[in-house]
């Protein structure tokens, strides 16, 4: 188990020792405890032996494809998983996200980005929001009373617009794939209908963003999905 229960533990599964070392520096500085695994098998064993609070998994492992490691992990554990991939693997990123990964980072990435992702991932397993209200920018979403305000003024949203907003808020600072959102809001039959998503996202931005053409919060991840950015840091 975690040597220090106050510090969240992160398991890093990557075959590059330099990456592991740098991740360790970054994470330990931010107050995490870090364990390392060099291969997919070793990573699975380590995760089973002493479940960490989150897993950082490289998609390109020498022994097992990262996707396979993820699937085996998901057979028994809902642990938050952050995927590391290289440029040009949009397809495998989406596959990993749809297979249950919680978020991704493309190498090369910055430390601040990594920590923000990890924070969002760990928040999911925290107890529910105390007040049931979430703020981003000038927007406040009161989940309990289904009320949305911007600059203190109430904003009228349609049923679907609110459903989309609630989904994004529930997974704030985390990426949601097109498929995940469409499935959640419209059911499986609409999985390919991404234009619905684009149109609703456009409407939400017009109602809630200061500059709908340069959104700060409702961000698009090209070829993958959307992310509601609340984390200011």
């Amino acid at each position: 188990m975690n040597p220090d229960p106050a510090k969240p533990g992160v398991l890093v599964i990557d075959d590059e020792s330099q990456i592991r070392r740098l991740l360790r520096f970054t994470l330990e500085d931010a107050g995490y405890t870090v364990r390392e695994a060099e291969t997919g098998h070793a990573g699975l064993v380590a995760a089973a032996h002493a479940p960490p609070d989150a897993v950082i998994l490289d998609l390109g492992l020498p022994d097992l494809p990262g996707l396979e490691v993820l699937k085996r992990l998901r057979e028994w554990s809902p642990l938050p998983v952050l995927i590391l991939s290289v440029f040009g693997q949009e397809g495998s990123k989406v596959a990993a996200l749809d297979a249950g990964a919680d978020d991704y980072l493309t190498k090369p990435f910055g430390g601040a980005e990594l920590l923000a992702r990890l924070r969002a991932l760990l928040r999911r397993v925290k107890p529910a929001e105390p007040a049931g209200a979430v703020r981003f920018g000038q927007v406040e979403v009161d989940l309990m009373h289904r009320r949305v305000t911007k600059d203190g003024q109430p904003v009228k949203l349609t049923v679907k617009e609110y459903a989309l907003l609630r989904l994004l808020v529930a997974h704030r600072d985390k990426v949601l794939t097109h498929r995940q959102i469409l499935n959640e809001l419209w059911g499986q039959k609409m999985e390919g209908q991404t234009h619905y998503l684009r149109v609703f996202m456009m409407r939400l931005r017009r109602k809630l963003e200061d500059e709908p053409d340069a959104p700060k919060h409702f961000q698009t991840e090209s070829g993958i999905g959307y992310r509601l950015v609340c984390d200011a840091s």
Binding site: F87, G88, E90, G91, P108, T158, V159, K160, H178, T194, H195, Y196, L197, R198, V199, F200, M201, M202, P212, D213, A214, P215, Q219, T220, E221, S222, G223
Partner: protein, 533 residues
């Protein structure tokens, strides 16, 4: 030969091919240019004509009221007129026969060889000399005329060939034209055999003569021995066709096969000479094409050599510069303290993002060239793409006002979002690199209703695109300015590759006094309306 029905309107005109022979392009005047038969009369007919004329003249002389002296001149006239129609031997025969007839039948006493007096002998002598000279002169004139006619035929034939060849661009076209000309000029069926892949000879597709096993062997023989073979030659005269090797500088480039009409029993040296000249022209053509192909290969090699050299130079420069920065900055970081450390860290970040971009571009170009780019089109929002590209560029756009011009009713369109993001990133990065710091950029999008397509455009306020580089703007490893020393010259090449892969295109404009504008177009399909629910 093909023939035409005059009553058929022009557009319905067809040549009527003989069985098994592909239709041949119509000859200019509907008749072949070269007549295989000798002009003039056959020798036997010449003698018959000579005798006929003399009989008529003699019969007329028998009843004529003139003195026999005067009638001698009539004989002379007849012989000289015969000179114009018959050869020199028939003329000589005519002279002798008419002398005998004159003496035996005209000079009294008739029906007996009169004893000639001196005057008669003088007339006879003059008569012979005049007949012989006239015969010689006219024969020479006729021979000259014959030569001239053949030269003319030959010149015309070669002229037609050259004209047909200059009009053709590829070897196949030229060979086709040459063979049709041969068909036309010689009234023959022709074939051209060129060395095929398996070491043997293969007939060119445009050949009108189909070679059987025997003819093939004869052609192989002409090829091997590099001499004329087949019909009309001493070598394999039983063959149906004449096989002419195409010789250039001692090498045999192919074999021209001519199957002349069956009734042509022999060919004259002049005709053979024409055939040889024709074959030489075809050989020249093939050689020229081979040289052209060789020089094209050479050029391609040189070009790929240049590309490789540029690639090596560029890649090593582009990779090593940031690496050198990273290394020396990291070393200094170990020694330095205080404010310099932050500065060095900034240098490292800049070098890292430069390295990242170079590697991304190299990977993209490689993916394009290996056909690994398989677009997965999905509905895209122009604003999303532009924002993603701007986010990706980060500090590179620092200090640049970017104006976004997108109509409020801009529809969604089908595209591969990551590819489009890269396209916009490269266009924006390009604009930043080649325009003065601080100058504004305009990113716009819209629908080109007339052509059913959507466009995204990046315009700048820089110096525009120099005319000298417009031709190779989208070629790889070409940089906007060779002196501006950095960059791989892949950005626009990738833009073009990604746009073509998605069924779109990219257009560059340079507006005088306004700057450069790059517009990418994509086909536009309307999606169903999304309800307000």
């Amino acid at each position: 030969m093909p023939f035409y029905l005059p009553a058929i309107p022009g557009f319905m005109r067809r040549s009527f091919p003989r069985k098994g022979v592909p239709p041949v392009a119509p000859a200019g005047r509907g008749t072949r240019l070269l007549d295989w038969k000798e002009h003039g009369l056959s020798p036997l007919r010449e003698y018959v004509e000579v005798l006929g004329v003399l009989v008529v003249v003699t019969v007329a002389g028998w009843f004529s009221p003139f003195s026999y002296h005067a009638y001698g001149l009539v004989y002379l006239l007849a012989v000289i007129m015969l000179c114009l129609r018959v050869g020199r031997w028939p003329v000589l025969v005519a002279a002798v026969v008419s002398a005998v007839a004159w003496d035996f039948l005209i000079i009294p006493p008739r029906l007996s060889f009169a004893v000639l007096d001196l005057e008669d002998v003088m007339i006879l002598g003059t008569y012979f000399v005049v007949a012989i000279i006239a015969g010689q002169v006219t024969a020479r004139i006729r021979a000259q005329e014959h030569d001239q006619r053949q030269r003319e035929q030959r010149a015309t034939a070669l002229f037609h060939l050259t004209r047909a060849l200059t009009g053709s661009r590829t070897l196949d076209e030229a060979v086709g034209a040459a063979l049709r000309q041969a068909d036309e000029i010689f009234g023959a069926e022709t074939a051209l055999l060129l060395p095929g892949g398996a070491g043997g000879l293969a007939p060119h597709a445009a050949s009108s003569f189909r070679l059987d096993e025997l003819e093939r062997n004869v052609a192989e023989c002409a090829w091997r021995e590099a001499r004329e073979t087949g019909r009309y030659t001493a070598n394999n005269p039983r063959a149906a066709a004449l096989h002419l090797p195409l010789l250039r500088a001692g090498a045999v480039l192919g074999v021209l096969v001519l199957c002349l009409p069956v009734e042509v029993a022999r060919t004259s040296p002049a005709q053979r000479e024409l055939l040889a000249a024709f074959a030489a022209q075809v050989a020249l053509l093939i050689e020229r094409e081979q040289l052209r192909a060789a020089s094209q290969r050479e050029q391609l090699l040189a070009e790929s050599d240049r590309l490789h050299r540029t690639l090596l130079d560029c890649v090593s420069h582009e990779l090593k510069t940031p690496l050198a920065v990273l290394r020396s900055a990291a070393e200094s970081l170990g020694r330095e303290t205080g404010a310099r450390r932050a500065e060095l860290a900034g240098e490292i970040l800049t070098a890292a993002s430069r390295l990242d971009r170079v590697v991304a571009n190299l990977l993209n170009q490689t993916r394009l060239e290996s056909g690994a780019v398989k677009p997965q089109p999905d509905w895209c929002d122009a604003r999303d793409l532009i924002n993603a590209a701007r986010r990706g560029l980060g500090d590179a756009l620092a200090g640049r006002p970017v104006r976004i011009e997108i109509p409020a009713d801009m529809p969604l369109f089908m595209a591969d979002a990551p590819l489009m993001e890269q396209v916009l990133t490269n266009l924006l990065h390009n604009a930043v690199r080649y325009t003065p710091a601080g100058s504004a950029l305009v990113v716009s999008a819209g629908v080109d209703e007339a052509n059913q397509r959507v466009f995204l455009a990046v315009a700048d306020h820089g110096p525009g695109i120099p005319a000298a580089i417009r031709g190779h703007l989208f070629q790889k490893f070409r940089r906007g300015s060779e002196t501006q020393g950095s960059g791989l010259g892949l950005g626009l090449s990738i833009v073009r590759g990604f746009m073509l892969a998605q069924g779109g295109e990219v257009v560059a404009e340079s507006l005088p006094g306004q700057g450069a504008k790059f517009t990418v177009y994509l086909p536009y399909t309307l999606h169903e309306t999304v309800p307000h629910e």
